[in-house]
Structure formats: C-alpha cells, structure tokens
C-alpha cells in the first residue's frame, strides 16, 4: 500500500522535528473528523447558512451560442461568502480547529483571498488570527489587507525572499514552529506537508460533489470536459474530484502563462518544460527551480497563481495522464475576462479567467450536445486595482490620481 500522504511519488511531510507532535495530533483530528459523518454534515450546514452553498451552476447561454460548440456551464464559486472557493477550505479547517481546541490561527496569503477568508473564519469562530503576506502582495492588494485588519486579523508583511506567496508560507511555518500549542496553520491550498493536501482537497470536494449533481440535473448527462485554474490547485482538485472516477470526463488544469511560456516570465509548472521535481515548503512536487534547487521568481497577472509549486495530488494525476495541463497568457486572460463580462455579466477573478481562456479555445471544436464546466473560483471585483490597471483604464487612473492628491493635501 501507498504510504499515507503520498500520491505516486509526490507529497510527503518534510517537516521540522518540532512539529512532529503537532502533525500527529492534526492527522488524528483530521482522521477522526473524516470518519465522523456528523462532521461533514456540520460543514455542509455551515456552508449553507454562512456562505451560500450549493453555489449555482450557470449556463453561459450567450457564449455557448456565440462559439457554436459545447454548452458552457460555469460553477459559481465567486458567490461564496468572501468571494472565492477559499471559503470552503477555511471554514472546514475552522471546524477542525474548534474540535482541536486551539485558539489561534495563522495563514499565508498571496492574492489576499485566502487571508480574507481566514480572517473571516477567525472572526466567526472567535479565534486570534495572524496573516502572513509578502511585501509585494501587500502593495498589490491593499484592499484585502484593509479588510483583514478590519476583520480583526493582524497582517504581517513578509520582506524575505521574493516577498510573495512562497515566502509568506515560509514565514507562517516559522510562526507555527514557535507557537504550535495554541495555533493551527490554515494552509490555503492543496500543497504543503501531509495532511494538508488531503485535507484541503477533502473540504474543496464539496465543489465537485455539487457540480456533478447539478450538471446531471441541468444538462442530463456528464460534461465532456472540466476546466479549472491551478495555482496551488485547490479549486481544481475541488471540482475534479466530482469527476475523477469518470474516465470519459476530461479534466484540464490551466496554469499562469504570464508573458508566455518561452518568456521565462510565467508560473506554469506542469504545462511548461521549466519545472522539475523538488522538495520544499514541506512536500515533494514539481517546482519552478534552477538546476541546483533554488526556487525561481515566478510571474503572473493573477497573484493567486503566482507560485513555484503545485499540489502533489495534481502532479500525480498529471503524471498518470488523468489531468491535462495548459497555460493561459496574461493577454489571453484579459481578453477572456472582458468577453465574459460583456456577454454573460459575470466577472471572474483573474485567476479564474485562466480557466475561461482554455475553455473558450476548445468550446468551438466541441459539439452542441456536449457540455463543459468552467470552475469560476472567485469573483474579479476584488481585483479592481489589478484589473483596471491591466486594462490601462484612463478614468480609473484619473480617479486614483485625484484621490491621491486629495489625501496628500
């Protein structure tokens, strides 16, 4: 039998000894929760009354017609409380924290989405909360910092390394090894040491369970393809789990192509030739690193995809050929975002827009009696600073210049 925490040769728990007991307890608590059907029910109830699960599956009728191919369905994780799928994982881990009797949570955040979700959960559950965020991301995502603080969290700016997500993860571990007794580290994606990949995937599986039931009801059969963007891989794993046991459903993960796979400025691990196996941040997967094992600077217009590693579960599924990987460039992302807003009235997050790109490329070559599902992991209105800037919107800039001058006065 496979060692627990391994997916093929990927995964594991490369943790400092000081966390050994903490992980033992966490594994035990998670196993107990998983074995207890009332726990899952408690989770589902919480998500139904505090967030708005089940989130809808929306038929994008206009774009389906425009492309003249597959029927395009969008799984609306953007309608979750706090605006993204991150809420599923965070609320689930929050319930686990309550069971473990811990009183403090910490988390890393890149885009800020996971940080806001964690701060929200901490407020709801009455926990102390500290969020680690790279200096670069603090600069890019000030609105999220504002909300985290208002929700009662302490936001710590991380100035080490590349000052982005991976460095925030390192810093969160450094906090955790100092204060494991009362503190739980709410890992934000299906990465990191076991049991995090399994745990986050489990909580996010609610997406796929719902999507499968919804597509069957709304479309009468399974979709041919399911698309999700892949940063760490949690939203992808979430929806893919609904269809993993159906080999006829093709699963497509879309990574950040940045300025293009040839440019060196991207964050595509599995869709590019640039990644190699490595061990970092507590787990074994494909990393964007140099020959000697030093992690590279990654780049994407979408902060939430701008990460060196990727879920070990997805790496395994990729190696098995079960999940196909593609990349979307920043440019393609902005075009897909614009099209989706104009034709369907929905505003995907920059991260989610990556999945839309690939679906739009493939939909025209599919049949109108086929369906595809795009996992819309989050909403884009939280990204106004990035999006307005990416569109180079002149009146937005004027607005900010005027406001800035007003504040400076």
């Amino acid at each position: 039998m496979q060692k627990p925490g391994y997916y093929g040769k990927w995964g594991g728990a490369y943790i400092p000894e000081v966390l050994y007991e903490t992980f033992k307890d966490l594994n035990a608590a998670f196993a107990a929760a998983k074995a207890d059907p009332t726990f899952w029910q408690e989770f589902v109830d919480l998500m139904a009354t505090y967030s708005c699960r089940p989130t809808p599956l929306t038929h994008a009728a206009n774009l389906s017609r425009d492309f003249g191919g597959a029927q395009i369905f969008v799984k609306r994780e953007d309608l979750n409380h706090t605006g993204a799928h991150k809420a599923n994982n965070v609320m689930g881990q929050g319930l686990l924290v309550k069971r473990m009797g811990k009183t403090r949570v910490i988390a890393e955040t890149g885009a800020g989405q996971h940080g806001v979700a964690t701060a929200t959960m901490a407020a709801k559950f009455g926990l102390e909360c500290t969020i680690y965020m790279g200096e670069e991301d603090v600069r890019r995502q000030r609105p999220n910092v504002f909300w985290m603080e208002k929700l009662g969290a302490t936001v710590v700016t991380v100035t080490s390394g590349s000052k982005t997500l991976k460095d925030a993860i390192n810093e969160a571990f450094r906090d955790w090894v100092s204060r494991m007794d009362d503190t739980h580290y709410v890992m934000g994606t299906v990465c990191g040491p076991h049991p995090f990949p399994e745990m986050v995937a489990w909580f996010q599986s609610i997406i796929g369970i719902e999507a499968r039931a919804q597509i069957s009801k709304q479309f009468g059969k399974l979709p041919s393809r399911v698309y999700a963007c892949v940063g760490g891989g949690s939203n992808a794993m979430g929806i893919f789990q609904g269809f993993l046991d159906e080999p006829q459903v093709e699963l497509i993960g879309v990574e950040a192509g940045g300025h293009g796979l040839d440019s060196g400025r991207h964050a595509a691990r599995l869709a590019s030739q640039d990644a190699s196996p490595g061990v970092a941040q507590g787990y074994h997967t494909m990393f964007l690193q140099n020959q000697e094992g030093q992690m590279m600077d990654t780049y994407s217009v979408a902060a939430g995809l701008d990460y060196v590693g990727v879920s070990p579960i997805l790496t395994d599924l990729w190696e098995q050929g079960r999940v196909r990987f593609e990349a979307a460039t920043d440019k393609e992302v902005m075009a897909a975002l614009e099209l989706t807003m104009k034709r369907e009235g929905i505003i995907p997050a920059l991260e989610s827009s990556h999945a839309f790109v690939q679906a739009y490329k493939e939909a025209p070559h599919m049949q109108p009696d086929e369906a595809l599902i795009i996992n819309m992991s989050g909403r884009g209105d939280k990204d106004i600073f990035t999006i307005a800037q990416a569109f180079n919107d002149p009146s937005w800039k004027d607005f900010i210049i005027t406001k800035g001058a007003e504040y400076a006065a």
Binding site: G12, P16, V18, Y20, K166, V177, A280, G282, Q294
Partner: protein, 256 residues
C-alpha cells in the same frame, strides 16, 4: 560512529567540559569572509563547524539566517562553489565539518552523488532540518553506506517516546533544539529547560548538542553539565555583520 568517537575523544581531554559547534552560511557575506571567520574559529578551538549551504526557502531558520541565505544567493553563490569551498576548509583545518542545508539541495544534486562528494571532501555529518526520519528511505540507507550520519533533532515538543524512536536511528550526536521557534532568538534557560535536557539525556547515550539562542559565555556556562556541545549560530553572523570577521576570534575565545 566515527563522529561520536571524535566527540567523545575531545570531551575526554582535560578541562573540556563542553565542546563548541559554530555555524556559518556559505557565501555570506562572501566565501572570502567565510574563510577568515573559519580560520579564527579553528584557531580559537572550535571543535565542530556547521556549514550551511544556502537555500532559497530556509523554512526553519530565523530572520538573520534567512537574510544571510538570501544575500548569499543574490551574490551568486552556487552549490558547486560551496562544495569546493568546503573541500578546501576540510583540507586546511583539522576540525569536524558538517553540512547544514535543506533537503532540496541534496535532492537536486542527486542524493547519492551528494553523499559521495561529501565523503570525498571529508564532511562528518549532515543537518537537514526539513528531513524527518519518516521521509526518503534511500537517504538513510546512503547515510549508513557512506558513514555520514544525519544528525537527528530533538525539540522541546518531542515526547519521551518520540525521543526513543529517534535515538534508535541516530548516530554521531543529537541536536537538541533549545526552544520552540526558529534560529536567532534568545532562549530562556529556566527550570523547564533543565527538565527537557534531562529527558533528552534519558533517551539516548549519544552526545547532546544544544542550539538556538546560544550567544554568550553565560549561556555556555549554563549549558555545561547539561549538554556536550553548545551551538553558536546567529550570534557569529551578527558579530561579523557588526564588527567584521576579526571580532570572531576573541568572541570564541571568550566563550569558555
């Protein structure tokens, strides 16, 4: 085996109640400065030197060492250079050198190739803080094969049972982390610390090193009797940053 014997032999010398292990980040601020610092450490009687090969994700280190890793890499320090430098040091100095680094450095180099190289250089042990004994079976086999012991770590959170488990596969010495947290912060040597050291001692016959937050003569004096080796890490980095490499000699000399 060999490492433990070396340590025991040093401890057997008259007046040597405690050994000193110092730490250095290769390439920070430069290999040239490292060279000077090591020279002074050796000259002032340090018994063991931990050479950290810099890694971009030093998850278990504190701010000072994190910064040192980062600046070493930014200055272009490569693993290859670190290995060549280590070979030179081992050749020049009759001191026990260990490698400290994160597992990915070995993994990318090729784990067996890394052992072979370390053996060739004359490295006496590895400290890999992100590699628990549950992971990478091959690594532990190669360690035995190449007779380079990976130094196991005890933490204040380790239970007696866990310590025994670790002791069963440990060799050379055990690195007892003095407190929870990362490198570079002050440690309170209070009653619970003595309890902890007693627990460590009960679980193994191997020599015990104590690190994290050891920075002055008082700390070493306190450790003597509790531990066999005192580990000076961040303190020398701070010293070199503030006063230059020449300050290291007198500092080391004053510790015991």
């Amino acid at each position: 085996m060999q490492l433990e014997q070396t340590i025991r032999a040093e401890l057997a010398q008259p007046g040597k109640d405690i050994l000193l292990m110092t730490h250095i980040v290769l390439g920070y601020p430069s290999l040239a400065v490292n060279r000077q610092v090591i020279k002074q450490m050796v000259a002032n009687g340090v018994e063991l030197i931990e050479m950290q090969i810099p890694f971009s994700e030093p998850m278990a280190d504190g701010p000072t060492i994190v910064r040192a890793n980062q600046e070493a890499l930014e200055a272009g320090t490569t693993v290859k250079e670190c290995l060549a430098f280590a070979a030179e040091m081992a050749r020049e100095h009759d001191t026990t050198f260990l490698f400290m680094t994160y597992f990915n450095i070995l993994y990318r180099y090729g784990v067996e190739a890394f052992f072979r190289k370390a053996k060739e250089i004359g490295i006496k042990g590895f400290i890999i803080p992100d590699l628990p004994p549950e992971e990478e079976e091959e690594f532990w086999q190669l360690a035995r094969q190449y007779e380079i012991p990976p130094i196991l770590i005890y933490a204040p959170t380790s239970t007696a049972q866990r310590m025994q488990e670790l002791a069963a596969s440990a060799e050379g010495f055990i690195y007892c982390v003095a407190r929870k947290g990362v490198t570079g912060k002050q440690t309170d040597f209070d009653a619970s610390f003595a309890d902890y050291m007693a627990r460590c001692r009960r679980s193994t016959t191997l020599p015990l090193a104590v690190g994290f937050g050891i920075s002055c003569r008082e700390d070493i004096t306190f450790l003597t009797g509790h531990a066999d080796i005192g580990v000076i890490g961040t303190a020398t980095i701070n010293l070199v940053d503030a006063q230059g490499p020449e300050a290291v000699g007198p500092f080391i000399a004053g510790l015991r």
